[in-house]
Each structure stands twice: as structure tokens, then as C-alpha cells.
């Protein structure tokens, strides 16, 4: 038993530090807002954090393949715009709108993936150029902030639906799907291509297909994030996605995803996104001008990465 625990701990040493940081943040949060653990707070907070967590999950998928997605914010905005622009009436309409938005996001991801896999262009360049493309499409769909999300849905999402925190449920569902995916051939192939692309190719893996699939999956995560954001805010804004590109990278990097692919776990990314989200809220409570948020966020990102690099370097020597 003890052996098992130590093994588990060793596998997650990366995450322990992050978990500790999260706990500290939670304790501090509790200090300012004693109702933190009440169902209402959990619902509101999860509603607020879900888009970032999902966007970070998308970024993580791409980073595990050894790539990077600079068009993530644009795709997120696109999904949001499609979802909110579709004139949804009733539950069926909402489902159609969501399915449509998701399809668009997956298609955008697949296009990115195809360009990366077949064009011989580095992912950073492809997704950079694609970010123009997708944000342009977003503007065509929705030139001005607006759109419409049924009020009932917004209310249920942000304030709970028969006592169920919908965003938390959505998150649990997504994590479960990821966990399941990791145990399929596709999940293993994703890690295999990210860890050693040439080796995977020489072993007979269809690396290009794996890449396209990975980018499409990232598109799905990003699309869900966009839908979540639309439901949370009740409308859509074509430019609101932009900061998610950088924040998703930050959350992934904090969560221990390697820039070189093949290393890292989704749970780390979720923790990373939670840390960023909580920190933002905490700063609001402490009464520091919200203007300082960005400053502190940047400093934390650099500090966390520098510390991690330092620790791994010491361990290696």
C-alpha cells in the first residue's frame, strides 16, 4: 500500500507543488469569502472558470503533439459567435446551435492540423496565419458584439439547475471523456507522436492522421469553451477570445505540459487553469486595482516556470 502511494506521489511530483499553491489560494479565498464552499459559490466559480479550463485543455492537446495553437482564441470566438448567432428557440434549438458551433470549431481545428501535418510548416506559423483567418470568419458571422443566448439557459448555467452545478458537471464529463480517450489507441497515439514523432512514423503509425485528429480534438475543446463563454455571458463578442490564446498556454505550462510534446497530464492543466482563475478573483477581493491583475498574472507565470526549470535542472545535475 505504502509503495503504491509513493509511486503515485512520484508520478505526480510536478502536480504536488501546483496543488499546494491551489490550496493556499483556496485558504486565502476562504478568508475573504467564507461562503466559498457553498453550492452557489461553486456553481458561480465553475461557471466562470470553465471556459479557460476547456481552452487550456485544447491547448494541452496540441502541445502534447509537440505543437502550439496561436489561433485558439480566434477559434473560441468563432464557436461563440456561431452559437450565439444561431436563432435558438427551445431546448432543441440550443442543441442544434451547440452542435453547429462545435462542428465549426472541430473543422477549424482539423484545417489547422491538416496544414501542420501536410504542409511542412511549423505549427507556430500555421496557427499564427490561421488566427487571421478564423478571427476574420468570426467577424463575418458576427461583426459586432451581440447575439442571443436563451435567458433560461444562462440562468441555469450560472445559478445551478435543480441544484446541479452545470459547469462543474460539464467539466467532470470532459475530464471523464479525456480519461477514456487516453486509454484508446487514439490517445496513446497522441502521446506517441508527441514523444518521438520519427519513431512513431517508423513504427508504422499514421502520424499525419494522428496530428489532424489531435488538432480537431483541440478544436472540440475550444468550441466547448466558446459555447461555455457565450452561455456564461449571455451574448457573444467577436474579440473576447483573444486573451484565451495566451492564458491557455499559461495554464498548460503551469500544469507541466512540455513545449516539446509527449509530456504532461490533463489534470495538471486543469489545476493550472484553476490557479490562474482563482488568482484573478482573489486579486479582486484584496481590493488591489484590477489593473494589477495582468501584472501579477505575468509575474506568477514567469516565476512558476523559472522555479520549475531551476528545480529540474538541479535534479538533473
Amino acid at each position: 500500500m505504502r509503495e503504491r502511494i509513493t509511486t503515485a506521489a512520484r508520478g505526480n511530483t510536478d502536480l504536488l507543488g501546483l496543488l499546494a499553491l491551489l490550496l493556499v489560494l483556496l485558504v486565502a479565498y476562504q478568508h475573504y469569502d467564507p461562503s466559498l464552499l457553498s453550492p452557489a459559490s461553486v456553481t458561480i466559480l465553475s461557471a466562470q472558470f470553465l471556459p479557460l479550463i476547456l481552452a487550456a485543455a485544447g491547448q494541452t492537446t496540441v502541445m502534447l503533439l509537440g505543437g502550439i495553437d496561436l489561433s485558439l482564441g480566434a477559434v473560441l470566438g468563432l464557436a461563440m459567435a456561431v452559437f450565439a448567432t444561431y436563432d435558438a428557440r427551445g431546448a432543441g434549438g440550443v442543441m442544434t446551435a451547440a452542435a453547429l458551433a462545435l462542428c465549426v470549431a472541430v473543422a477549424a481545428g482539423a484545417v489547422n492540423g491538416t496544414l501542420v501535418a501536410y504542409a511542412g510548416l511549423p505549427p507556430i506559423v500555421v496557427t499564427l496565419a490561421a488566427s487571421f483567418l478564423w478571427s476574420g470568419v468570426t467577424l463575418v458571422v458576427l461583426p459586432q458584439p451581440g447575439g442571443h443566448v436563451p435567458a433560461g439557459l444562462v440562468d441555469a448555467y450560472n445559478n445551478g439547475w435543480y441544484g446541479i452545478a452545470l459547469p462543474a458537471a460539464a467539466l467532470a464529463l470532459v475530464l471523464a471523456v479525456w480519461k477514456l480517450l487516453r486509454t484508446t489507441r487514439h490517445g496513446l497515439a497522441l502521446y506517441a507522436v508527441g514523444g518521438n514523432e520519427h519513431g512513431a512514423y517508423a513504427s508504422g503509425l499514421h502520424t499525419r492522421g494522428v496530428k489532424i485528429g489531435g488538432y480537431a480534438l483541440a478544436g472540440a475543446f475550444t468550441g466547448l469553451a466558446g459555447i461555455g463563454l457565450a452561455v456564461q455571458t449571455g451574448s457573444a463578442d467577436p474579440t473576447i477570445g483573444t486573451p484565451y490564446t495566451l492564458n491557455s498556454i499559461a495554464a498548460s505550462v503551469l500544469g507541466g505540459i512540455s513545449f516539446f510534446g509527449g509530456v504532461g497530464r490533463m489534470r495538471g492543466t486543469v489545476l493550472g487553469a484553476l490557479v490562474i482563475g482563482l488568482l484573478t478573483n482573489l486579486l479582486l477581493f484584496t481590493g488591489i486595482s484590477p489593473f494589477y491583475q495582468l501584472v501579477i498574472q505575468g509575474v506568477i507565470l514567469v516565476a512558476a516556470l523559472a522555479l520549475k526549470t531551476y528545480v529540474t535542472r538541479e535534479a538533473a545535475e
Binding site: 502550439i68 496561436l70 496544414l115 504542409a119 511542412g120 510548416l121 511549423p122 507556430i124 506559423v125 500555421v126 499564427l128 496565419a129 490561421a130 488566427s131 487571421f132 483567418l133 478564423w134 478571427s135 476574420g136 470568419v137 468570426t138 467577424l139 463575418v140 458571422v141 461583426p143 495566451l246 498556454i249 499559461a250 505550462v253 513545449f259 486595482s289 489593473f291 494589477y292 491583475q293 495582468l294 501584472v295 501579477i296 498574472q297 505575468g298 509575474v299 507565470l301 514567469v302 516556470l305 523559472a306 526549470t309 531551476y310 535542472r313
Partner: protein, 317 residues
């Protein structure tokens, strides 16, 4: 005949910078023939003037990309320099103090970037992303959300004035390109930058001064972004917190369209000049057709991807 084609194709593939100018010339010709207003001197003048703002930033970006770095904080620095100069100049400081303060701060940001990359070993993308975020926050704090406008005569004439009919901004850009070109392609520091970009461990084992080279590149890049911010301030007479935003991605796009490898170690500064002119021309063309913002971005994105596919593929090893 086919041999001749093959040889010239090989030569062209060898010099991607030439491609950038080739495409530029063709596009310009097409614009003159098929679009209205592109055949006038004033239009030409206006184009090179507006290209200068982007071009100055892109020249700095090239220096960083060649040593396999990337600077995502240029957008923040452009805004920083303009905002600081405007605030100082409109306050007690006066124009000269404003310009000095703006440039000094810009250089400082570059030094921080380099320090993070060299000493803390944070990946350049994350490091510059973080400084960019910090800058955005710091500017909010500094201006309280409402940046000031200022008329600085020197900057005004620099941005709008002409020398023998040629816009001063363009002259400045060419001057900067000449100096940077000498730095990158003729001086020892330039050789070191190329060596670092081609492979850091081999460069280290050959005694290349990693720190000094990185500092030179990042500080130059930030300084040039600062200069661009000042010229922009002179051009518009007002500063804003988001005025730098387009330059983040467009400067990288100019570098890559100019044939420089985003992975570092290969490319030519002149290509970047072609890239910046090409991007500006394309934008102007799309605007002249009265396309909506969204369609314009879509077309621009598709064109960039298409051009990259034609001549900027990375060799597979």
C-alpha cells in the same frame, strides 16, 4: 529548358527573401493594373509610410527570430512607448524627455526579456508573453485606463514629414534596416545570432557568448518597437493602450513571409522589408475593395498561408 527551370527554381528556393520581393512586385503590378488608385505617387508614398510602422517592428523581430527566439511583447512595447511619451510630453516633461523616457523603458523591457530567457531559462515565447501581459497591466495602472494624447512636433514631422518627397518614416525605416542589416549580416554579433539559431549547444561549445547576443537581440527588438510606437504617436497624435496589438502577429508574419525560418538560423533581413511591404500592400488592396473587416482578415489569412506554402516550407530532415 527544364534544366534551366530547375536551376532557377533551386536558386529561388535558396533565397526565400527574393521570393518575398518577387511576390511583392507581382502584387504591386496587379494592384496598379486592376485596382483603382494604386498608380498614383501619393498612394505609393502613403503605402511606404504606413509600411514603415510595421516594418520597424518587424526588423527588430527578425533579429530575435534569427537567434531562434520570438518576441510576443512587441505589441506591449509599442503601446508603452507611445503612452509614456504622450503622458510625459503632455505633462511637465516636454517632448525630448518623453522620447528619452519611452526609449529607455522600451530597452528595459528588452533587457528583462533577455534576462528571463538567458538566466531564468524560460522559453522565449512564454517569457515575452508574460512581459507583454505585465506591460498591458502596467499601462492600465499608469494611465488609469485613459491614456493621453500629445502633439510632439519632432515626432509629428518624423511620421508625416517628407525628405525630398520621401516620407521621413520610410527614410527612418530604411536607415534602421541598414544598421540592423549590418549588425545581423556583417558584424560578429550577427554571426553569433545565426549560430545560436542554428543550434544552441554547438554554439555554446564554440564559445558563442549566449548572454551578450541574446541581450543585443532582445534589447534592439524592444528598442525598435519603442521607436515604432513613437512614430505611431506622431502619426496619430494620440496614444492608446491597444495601439500595438496588430503588430504582435503582423511583425512575425512579415518575418516569416520574408523567408526567415521561424526556427531560427536562416533568413535575411531584407526579406523582412519585403514581407512588411507585402503585408501592408495586401491590406491596402483589400481595403480598397471595400471588403468588410471580417472578409479582409479571412482573405489575408488565406493569402499568408498560401504564400507560406509556396516558399516557406521547412525542410524535413
Amino acid at each position: 529548358m527544364s534544366g534551366l527551370v530547375a536551376v532557377s527554381a533551386a536558386a529561388l528556393r535558396g533565397s526565400r527573401a527574393a521570393w518575398a520581393f518577387g511576390v511583392l512586385a507581382l502584387t504591386w503590378l496587379a494592384a496598379i493594373l486592376f485596382a483603382d488608385g494604386f498608380d498614383s505617387v501619393s498612394n505609393f508614398r502613403y503605402l511606404v509610410q504606413t509600411a514603415s510602422f510595421l516594418g520597424i517592428v518587424a526588423v527588430g523581430q527578425t533579429l530575435v527570430v534569427i537567434m531562434s527566439g520570438i518576441d510576443l511583447s512587441v505589441s506591449g512595447v509599442v503601446a508603452l512607448s507611445a503612452v509614456v511619451c504622450a503622458k510625459v510630453a503632455s505633462g511637465t516633461g516636454g517632448g525630448a524627455t518623453g522620447i528619452t523616457a519611452a526609449l529607455a523603458l522600451s530597452a528595459l523591457v528588452g533587457a528583462v526579456n533577455a534576462a528571463g530567457v538567458v538566466w531564468l531559462r524560460v522559453p522565449p515565447m512564454v517569457m515575452t508573453l508574460a512581459t507583454g501581459t505585465i506591460l498591458a497591466g502596467a499601462l492600465l495602472v499608469y494611465t488609469d485606463g485613459s491614456p493621453s494624447s500629445a502633439a510632439v512636433p519632432l515626432l509629428d514631422s518624423l511620421a508625416n514629414g517628407r525628405l525630398l518627397g520621401v516620407p521621413w518614416a520610410f527614410v527612418l525605416w530604411l536607415g534602421i534596416t541598414a544598421v540592423a542589416g549590418w549588425l545581423l549580416h556583417l558584424s560578429r554579433t550577427g554571426r553569433y545570432a545565426f549560430a545560436l539559431g542554428a543550434g544552441e549547444s554547438a554554439a555554446r561549445a564554440s564559445g558563442v557568448p549566449l548572454g551578450a547576443t541574446a541581450f543585443t537581440a532582445y534589447v534592439s527588438c524592444a528598442l525598435l518597437a519603442g521607436v515604432a510606437g513613437l512614430v505611431l504617436l506622431g502619426f496619430t497624435g494620440t496614444s492608446s493602450l491597444t495601439m500595438g496589438n496588430p503588430y504582435q502577429l503582423l511583425s512575425i508574419a512579415s518575418v516569416v513571409l520574408g523567408g526567415t525560418s521561424i526556427l531560427g538560423g536562416r533568413g535575411h533581413l531584407l526579406g523582412t522589408v519585403g514581407g512588411a511591404l507585402l503585408l501592408t500592400l495586401l491590406t491596402a488592396l483589400l481595403t480598397s475593395w471595400n471588403l468588410s473587416e471580417g472578409v479582409r482578415q479571412v482573405v489575408l489569412g488565406v493569402l499568408i498561408i498560401g504564400l507560406l506554402l509556396v516558399y516557406a516550407r521547412e525542410r524535413r530532415t
